[in-house]
Amino acid sequence: MHTRLKLASLAALTLLFGLALAATQWTLQPGESQLTFVATQAGAKFEGRFEKFEADITFDPESLAGARFDVRVDLRSVNTQDSERDSIIKGPDLFDVDRWPTAHYVADSFTAKGGGKFTARGKLTLRDVTRVVPIEFTFERANGGAWLKGSATLNRLDFGVGQGEWKDTESVGNEVAVRFSLRLM
């Protein structure tokens, strides 16, 4: 094969591969997207949310092999509708945002569960701890884009979110449910 032909086919392949990637690479619409959590204080559940987060989502339900989630959450943007509680959550005993301002979730292993449902096996880094956190989600195409909605459950103490007296799980439950609804275009 001529070198020129080789180069041409390589270029064509690269272009094709690039197009395939481009087709499954999404842009997060922050205004329509939500990242919330449900935690427990003194036995009662309450909801909070993160106002700022970024997500690089590469996902095509037909080809899970190339899928990847890369989500960065600005922990300083936590909002539980009570500034006193927010500053405790951001403080040194919980998130310690001065040292670790960002939570990072990366997933590149996906399984289809049928019926539009999927599982991602990704790793979450909170503070200085990285652990596997599986998430369950649905993917739905809508209005030229898609909705990615799902949830995960994690134990805050696995990540050291709760030092000293905040290790007490009777006043602040260990289990935290995270929910997300991401609008992708």
């Binding site: 003194a42 036995g43 009662a44 909070g48 509708q81 009570d82 509680r85 007296e165 009777e170 006043s171």
Partner: protein, 193 residues
Amino acid sequence: MMQLKNDQSRYGAIAKAFHWAIVALVITQFILANQAHDLPAGLEKLQVLARHKSVGITIFALAVLRLLWRLFNPVPAYPAAMPRWQHLAARSSHFLLYALLLVLPILGWLMSSARNFPVSWFGIVTLPDLIRPNEAAFHFLHEAHETLAKVLFVLALIHAAAALKHHFIDKDDVLRRMLPVKLKGTPDRASSD
């Protein structure tokens, strides 16, 4: 043996139990509220306020049951010698005391909802939120809760002072008929009617 129901001259054991349980719990509430007030934001404050909410809900439930009991079980008559204005004073202060026992917990519950700190009754039952989180509403409700708690404090003092006045000055049985035990050295005076 102590009778359970009220009669014309005395309160029964159930009315007395309601009265004194609520007295104990209301005193507990003032202690917990003052503790929480002095604590910095933190775990201990969270715990004290959780207890304050659980006790408050208990008071509300007891007050409802007590009023139902009162409805089907009329209270003893006022002493015959008591002037009309005192009837009126007693009726209105009792009405206000009951109203505050119901209103204060509701205000506290509303406050908790407004601040997105839902109420759990001793970690056993979680109460639904009455309103959506709202900081301005929280501050208003907090003020109202505190002000009415002060009103309750003053009314309870007047109530206790009046009972002592009946006992020591009027020398009638208004105080004794609500006491859980018989006073030593005081013979059971016949009721005045």
